[in-house]
Symmetry: C2
Subunit: 401 residues, 2 copies
């Protein structure tokens, strides 16, 4: 199953509306966004495992799973993390102000914040922007997707429709993430919206399964942020209920594919990245070790620099796999492909055309296929990352505090 080529990227499911405006926190760019539904929504969420959780994370953790969420508010530029009691208070004030504007209870509003850590919210500016934000909602995700960006270069949205046994539903994914990307159990900011009818428990299961195979397998720099979160919001506006196993399977696959597409987009837009790296681990002994190895590889600064230099330095791949605990017995029989070219075979360097490989590495997408030959499972463990460039250093040496 693949998402079709003709995806309407910014289409929202029925009954969803979104907006993004500039509140004045940032000079020109939109910096506050709203997703809102006509009716109450079922909402599931997964959150960062970082012990330094931002105020909005603490707020949302208490609300989901829920069946009466009405909106998600998101501001960019200020993460409201490491802001102490005042940060929690400011988050609540912003939520209450938003609840007044959109006429619901504060507990019906989820919040995500992203930006600099340790800075208090510019509450006055944010609150003042809320009426305009609510007034400007449209039926596309575009403005919202732009408003939640920080060092991202491009907005990240993907949308598709599904034919289920009792009708058609739409699923739309929106994400942001560019630096401090190494989610654990959750993600940067991810929003999966659907007009299907789902209960909270099912919603949480769909989200958790998809996130574990997507956002939790993407790393830009190995740093786990304080504000990572992903939501699945279902407003039921399609009238299509997900109540048979076949439909659930189609739906789960779609949510997973959408999250993987967003994960890929996040890695490709990693700070300073010039290349997306996609790692596939085949036939590992156990999934956890394969995941660790795949993620480890996407985190290796040496490997990331080699890919940046379009250098087929497979020694660094092997070294990292070994460091992650892939047993010597596997390393001694494994195969390794870079851009489909076999460069390490049966545990020993293979003869390969270096010039050809170098030229294949000029691509903006680099595929690493590791076959550990320890099993013959059909399941592939996938992870995504990006190369390490001077630009990454530049961005992060100068990102203001």
């Amino acid at each position: 199953m693949k998402l079709g080529p003709g995806i309407a990227r910014t289409l929202l499911p029925k009954g969803f509306f979104a907006s993004g405006v500039n509140s004045g926190v940032r000079k020109y760019r939109p910096d506050i966004g709203l997703i809102i539904s006509d009716t109450d929504m079922v909402a599931a969420g997964v959150f960062t495992t970082n012990e330094a959780k931002a105020a909005p994370i603490l707020w949302c953790q208490n609300l989901v799973p829920s069946k009466k969420i009405r909106a998600v508010l998101t501001n960019s530029g200020q993460a409201n993390a490491a802001t102490g009691a005042l940060g929690i208070e400011n988050n609540l004030k912003m939520v209450k102000a938003c609840a007044e504007v959109i006429k619901c209870a504060p507990e019906q509003i989820l919040v995500a914040s992203t930006g600099v850590i340790g800075v208090q919210l510019s509450l006055d500016l944010l609150v003042k922007s809320l009426p305009e934000l609510a007034a400007r909602v449209t039926d596309t995700a575009e403005n919202f997707a732009n408003a939640i960006l920080t060092t991202d270069l491009v907005p990240k949205t993907v949308s598709t429709t599904l034919e289920l046994s009792t009708g058609t539903v739409t699923v739309t994914g929106i994400a942001k993430g560019s630096g401090m990307i190494h989610p654990n159990m959750a993600t940067m900011l991810g929003y999966i919206l659907t007009d299907a009818q789902i209960d909270e428990k099912l919603a949480h299961g769909f989200l958790k399964t998809a996130v574990d195979k997507s956002f939790n397998m993407v790393s830009v720099d190995g740093d786990t942020a304080t504000n990572d979160c992903a939501f699945l919001l279902a407003n039921g506006a399609s009238g299509v209920n997900l109540n048979n196993p076949a439909d659930c399977e189609i739906f789960q696959n779609t949510v997973t594919l959408i999250c993987q597409e967003l994960a890929r987009a996040i890695a490709r837009d990693g700070e300073g990245a010039t290349k997306l790296i996609e790692v596939n681990i085949f036939n590992g002994q156990n999934t956890e070790l394969s995941k660790k190895a795949a993620r480890g590889l996407t985190m290796s600064p040496l490997f990331k620099c080699a890919i940046h230099g379009e250098d087929p330095n497979w020694g660094r791949i092997l070294a990292r796999l070994g460091a992650e605990g892939v047993p010597a017995a596997s390393l001694n029989k494994m195969n390794l492909k870079l851009q489909g070219e076999l460069i390490f075979q049966d545990g020993a360097p293979a003869v390969f055309d270096r010039d050809k490989l170098r030229s294949l590495l000029r691509s903006d997408t680099v595929l690493v296929d590791v076959d550990l030959k320890e099993s013959s499972s059909a399941a592939v463990v996938k992870a995504w990352g990006c190369d390490f460039s001077k630009k990454y250093v530049e961005i992060n040496a100068e990102y203001s505090t």
Copy 2:
């Protein structure tokens, strides 16, 4: 206890000789080195935990602890890692050739290799250089320390004499390491030489204790190499036996300090580094978590970039500590100092003079003091790292395969 300022850095202990010559593997620089003792030595070793162990590591693991080591041979430029059965065979051939030249059994020679992974040794060149290498030994560490370097900019040696109850002994440390530095249970290449009389068990204990507080707490890039190892070699030439607890304590402290001095030197000479970062964690709940947190911080690309930019971005410090599992309760009461300036106090941002701090951050050494306030232990957990620069990317995008 501190090492004195007047350390004769390249002095070897009694009965030790060392050399380094160019074998032709590298164009101009010395690329093969030898440490040799007049008499049999007690030798202890600790090795990389990477599953992808290089041929020389596999060789040495079978030899130590030993009481009859005569020499350590080290080549740079070719790591002899991921080289399969031929790599193991080449290692043995090199050892046998060396044993013939210096007239001992092959099992009396330890080997360390460092350089590009996946390349077979240039055996002919290396073997041909052995007679000259053996002929050129002197009583200083200088040529050896130079011959083992790869991307290192400076050789790393430190030497001191100790007054023990029954006489004077000398301890000399030599190390190399610049990239792929994130040792686990062992190190890049480290050699601790002494003319004290010690048995193998004691030697192993001294080495292990020192390495855990030094080489195992230094990270340049989070990548654990295939060739990491550290040796303690004791030839007893001083006639001074380490057999009372007071002497053992002095000796242990010295070995630890020497290893820490070398660890600092390695971090400072990290690939592309412009600054040494020293992290101190005070009053943690448990040492393992404090170690994890300290090491995590020295590995955070975001924090390393901020330090490179001389930017007091404490939010990234907090985020990383939280990501490493420092509990929210500690984060909510901790103090944080950068260059001695208090920037986060009792779990909240402190008021500090940003201009003053920025100017303090221009130093080539950056101190991070974290007080978790969970205990009142005198023990400080220390870790060392370096900043992340464009130069790191340049070096590692272009390091040849």
